[in-house]
């Protein structure tokens, strides 16, 4: 049996007391704030105190314990004082939650979390046998979440988690606005939140979540995961017309537009749910789809929508055509009128992203459905070497060989739930099923492969009176992991990177896992995505600014990122438009069109993930963007009265007063770079010198006093003045270009 308890007193004392504190702190007087462990801190200059409690974290532990405890009857039966396992190192008490939590924390800390978890599935040896069934069972997962939370609670008082400051509320609000709405708020609004409370800041962030900008955030964020816009360029959309939907027009242009809107369909479903404050689960359980002006005719909705309008509707347009004749049901109809909508899952764009075959049998659809909506990567869940002997097993290995069933027992029932959607995506392709022709001809009268597990979820099978995909959707949203999946789904849109992988330092991995769990636990209460997004943006992770001490080893930090990420091409375009009123490319934004891929964008087909780091090619695009906009931005702003201007609020086109120029530079640092600098700081000193040098360079050039002397200046005002008699506009032009090619302009 294992060795004695080697946990030292200090650690054990700390663990016991911290766990006890977290359990008893419920109902305490702390204000609303960040959901991650550690201090709620809206003062970047204060030093967080070790061991400081967090109300929300204690709630997370309590919630996790309740979940885990409900599956631990067998554990409590043996692991009690005087019980069968009374001589082991794990003694629990079903009537004493605090005692039990301490025991779990202590065992996990001493012998390792995996040691404890492995015993629940009988590995490598457990006298009590395999109690939890598998490492993917709900019981196992609930206990794992609890242990992670307990470990992080222990670490909350250690320097690593609290060794950094967070940005000011105004900086967070500005970033939130840029991500969520595509606009940079006005300077007055931003600065008014400089000392806002967490509650006030969160309320302001929630207030951003409406309108077209927010809808774009939702759709772009969802597409970054689902890649549904693959349909715009891939060939999958062609089958839509060729096989199942009577064309509403022969115009190639119209077909391209229909394909484009088919790509938007799942994204519109998600946006519709979130913007109308419906439970997020509806993205899968919705018994409708979203149609546009171009798709409503194909779907036979009769809605006659206006351009740009999207509305809920039922798909009554799919024909089922076998060779030259139409399949007709008992009533003589050839169109499917009972299409079983299951939100995103039944859309053409989603299903065609993961095509199936006679042997794949919807397994790719199952794999990605679990990844997207449960946050569960089945390939990584059981990454282990398998032998060629197992691979070569021909006796239905996915049913019988343990090397294969470890994954297939979970995946294949979900695959079955997609059974009525054909490899070419159509519903009930033959009229009654979507089996491949060869199998159907040999196995008449069945609607799914008889040598596979029946359609279901976990140990449950789809009832005979239920539509399998709709039934699956319901099971998924009822799964505890649905909330975890939602957090992971939106993580990239908010933080600009994937969740950490196993190569990250252990402390960071565990802190992130705890944070995800805490966010999910809160989200699970009402499944309101807006609340979740606000919670994510209130976390210390999102707002992390600087290490409190420059000598602190990076490896001690439990958060690696700072409060900036590389802006997407769309966000950069929006930022520039917001700050200057101008768009590169005007009505055909260059950063979203011709330069999209060169600026690190994805095409959702061969490039599924946008770049998250700056490359040489991307920088050249950013330069081109700045050069194109810089001069026009200066001219446009100075054509307005000072009170109307976006940028140049402190100077006029002939101002040479040093103090005024420095004040203007301070404003530009805040407006353009979201940096708060002071008038005599090193940065402002350098920028002021740059202003002077640029001005002198312009004077040295000689010639006329027009701003476009010797250079290209795209004046967007068509007739506006290019005069620069004081040689002031020219250096401001250079300053704007300098700022638009600054890393803090491109990363925010």
């Amino acid at each position: 049996m294992e060795g004695g308890d080697t946990m030292n007193f200090v650690t054990r004392f700390f663990a016991i007391n911290l766990v006890a504190l977290t359990l008893t702190a419920c109902g305490g007087g702390e204000g609303a704030g960040g959901i991650d462990a550690g201090a709620n801190n809206n003062n970047p200059n204060s030093t967080p105190q070790p061991g400081q409690n967090n109300k929300t974290n204690s709630q997370a532990v309590t919630a996790a314990y309740n979940n885990a405890k409900s599956n631990m009857a067998a554990c409590f039966g043996c692991h009690i004082a005087g019980g069968i396992a009374g001589g082991t190192n794990l003694i629990l008490d079903i009537n004493n939650d605090s005692f039990t939590l301490n025991a779990l924390a202590s065992y996990s800390s001493t012998f390792g979390r995996d040691t404890l978890l492995s015993k629940t599935v009988g590995q490598p040896f457990h006298a009590g046998g395999n109690v939890f069934g598998s490492r993917t069972s709900q019981a196992y997962l609930d206990l794992e979440q609890l242990l992670i939370l307990l470990e992080t609670s222990q670490q909350a008082g250690q320097p690593g988690n609290l060794a950094f400051t967070i940005e000011s509320p105004s900086q967070t609000f500005r970033r939130a606005s840029l991500y969520l709405t595509g606009t940079v708020p006005g300077r007055g609004q931003v600065l008014s939140l400089q000392n806002a409370s967490d509650e006030a800041l969160r309320s302001q962030i929630l207030g951003l979540m409406n309108g077209e900008g927010f809808k774009n955030f939702l759709k772009n964020g969802a597409n970054a995961r689902l890649n549904s816009r693959h349909l715009i360029t891939s060939t999958q959309g062609v089958a839509f017309y060729n096989k199942y939907y009577l064309p509403n027009t022969d115009s190639a242009g119209n077909r391209n537009t229909v394909r484009r809107d088919l790509a938007e369909e799942p994204l519109e479903i998600i946006a519709n749910v979130v913007m109308n404050d419906r439970p997020y689960s509806e993205i899968l359980t919705a018994n409708y789809t979203m149609v546009s002006q171009y798709t409503d005719e194909s779907y036979n909705t009769g809605l006659n929508l206006a351009p740009g309008e999207w509305r809920q509707a039922q798909n009554r347009g799919q024909d089922v055509k076998t060779s030259a004749s139409f399949f007709r049901d008992a009533t003589g109809a050839s169109r499917i009128t009972d299409f079983p909508h299951a939100g995103v899952l039944s859309t053409w764009a989603y299903l065609s992203k993961y095509p199936t075959t006679a042997t794949n049998r919807n397994r790719a659809r199952a794999r990605w459905t679990m990844q997207h909506f449960l946050g569960f990567d089945i390939e990584k869940s059981a990454t282990r070497a398998i032998s060629i002997t197992d691979v070569a097993d021909e006796v239905n290995p996915t049913m019988n060989n343990p090397a294969c069933t470890v994954c297939h027992q979970t995946m294949d029932p979900i695959s079955g739930a997609f059974k009525f959607f054909h490899e070419r995506v159509g519903y009930k392709a033959s009229g009654t099923d979507s089996l491949d022709r060869r199998y159907r001809s040999r196995n008449p009268g069945v609607d799914w492969y008889q040598n596979m597990r029946p359609a279901g979820y976990g140990s449950s099978q789809v009832p005979s009176n239920a539509d399998p995909l709709q039934w699956l959707a319901q099971r998924i949203v009822e799964d505890n992991r649905f909330a975890i999946g939602a957090v992971k789904f939106w993580w990239f849109a908010v933080f600009g990177e994937d969740v950490l992988d196993e190569s990250a330092p252990r402390a960071q991995l565990e802190a992130q896992a705890a944070l995800i769990t805490a966010l999910a636990n809160s989200f699970r209460q009402n499944l309101n995505l807006k609340e979740l997004l606000a919670d994510m943006m209130m976390t210390r992770t999102f707002r992390a600014s600087k290490k409190i001490d420059g000598s602190l080893d990076d490896n001690l930090l439990t958060v690696h990122m700072g409060a900036r990420r590389l802006l997407t091409g769309y966000e950069l375009k929006q930022k520039t438009q917001s700050l200057t009123g101008l768009v590169w490319g005007r009505t055909r934004p260059s950063l979203e069109r011709e330069y999209k891929l060169l600026y690190g964008g994805a095409n959702d087909v061969t490039i599924e993930r946008r770049a998250t780091t700056m490359s040489s090619m991307m920088y050249r695009v950013a330069e081109r963007h700045a050069y194109n906009i810089g001069c026009a931005a200066v001219l446009l702003d100075f054509s307005l009265t000072q009170s109307q201007r976006r940028l140049f609020t402190e100077v006029e086109n002939n101002t040479l007063n040093e103090t005024a120029i420095r004040n203007q530079i301070v404003v530009l640092y805040e407006r353009m770079l979201n940096r708060l600098v002071t008038i005599n700081s090193t940065e402002v000193n350098q920028a002021y010198q740059l202003f002077l040098d640029l001005r002198q360079a312009r004077i040295n050039l000689g010639g006329s006093t027009r701003i476009n002397e010797g250079i290209r200046c795209d004046n967007r005002m068509d007739g506006g003045s290019l005069n620069d008699p004081s040689f002031v506009l020219s250096p401001w032009r250079g300053m704007i270009i300098a700022m638009m090619t600054d890393p803090d302009y491109l990363y925010e």
Binding site: N360, T383, M561, T613, L701, G734
Partner: protein, 420 residues
Amino acid sequence: MTAATSLFASFPALLKANSDYQGKLVVTVFARGGWDPTSFCDPKMNAAGERIINNWAAANSIQTAGNINYAPFADNDAFFQAHFQKMLVINGIDVKSNGHSTGTLNNMTGIMKDGYPSIAALFAASNKSQQLMPWLAGTSRPNSGKLLVPSTMANRSELDRLKRLALPNRFRTGRTDVYLQNEELALLRQFRQTQGTARMNDAQQMPKQRRQYQDFLAATYSDGSFENFINLLETADTKGLNPNNRFFGQAASTMAAFKAGISLTADISVSGFDTHGTHDTRHASALTNLTTTVDLLWYMATQYNIEDRLVVVISSDFGRTNRYNDGNGKDHWSITSSIIMENNPSWGNRVVGTTDGAHFASKINFNNLQEDNASGTTIEPKHLMTAMRSYLNIETQPASLRFDLDVAAVPDFFNPALMT
């Protein structure tokens, strides 16, 4: 020196002084989806009374180019006859997985674990000096190990845009008007370097923030090599092949970048190999794309006089089953092959590793490379990766040591006197 202080440096000092790189140029060509070695470099005939492994074997026999056997399938004949002298074929590699993600990871990095770099990333990180885009990636999720930033491959179809990016300060290609005068450009660049470096060197920066500033400053470096790359891309002789083709275009872009000196390595991806249905037709097409792409690499390398520096590594997620399924497709099989190529190497025209008639991997003696199922060892991707690190002289570099593959012994792959 702690992690917090180890990165303190002025930006120029982060780069090596050598900008005239004349070392090796490494390209990995990945057959995405799981290729069928039994229809390529590890050909298998059908056995009497057993299920058919290959339909082509019904009427054809295994072909040979030098010491290398190949299948009479697709355009294999032209490829092997033209390039067998360059080749080291490694058969019987056990990937120990039949999952796409895991198999790809294992073959690209040598380990079934996230976070490790591919050989292309590792080599570029160990040898880069002032190249603009040291590592090109034609894949969606390149394995960087966070060592360096991959650059997307530019396609000739984007030539007009690329020309504008070659000289971003110039208003239009072919015109002389500019957005900034030279003196202004110089002032802005100096300002950006000064402020960017100061922020990067701020001891209180969070780790990711610091890396972002480093990546940014590296991205701002500019010399005339990008313009040279554009010119080469525009005028590239692609042997009559369509330079806008998504496979051939990667080859053209890679070679132009190598010749211009802006890149050291590239990861190229050729898709279409996951042939669960209608295997023969679809796999022949995919293999033809693969061999044409590799052939184009060598053709252009010769045109640019860099063929003696080029190293090509061809691999895939895994293999395909030794039988057809009900849809005339082949499913996943954890035994695969790889091919390493160089121009007239001493170790060329050789095969290491073997499989039996049903494409099960045989064990080999790592010292004499002879089949030894009693006491030998099965070749795995980690052996190949470790051997490549050694061959490319990067095995003792800090990045390689950081991403140790923990391999006790590797086959003597590059010993010209030995062959399985």
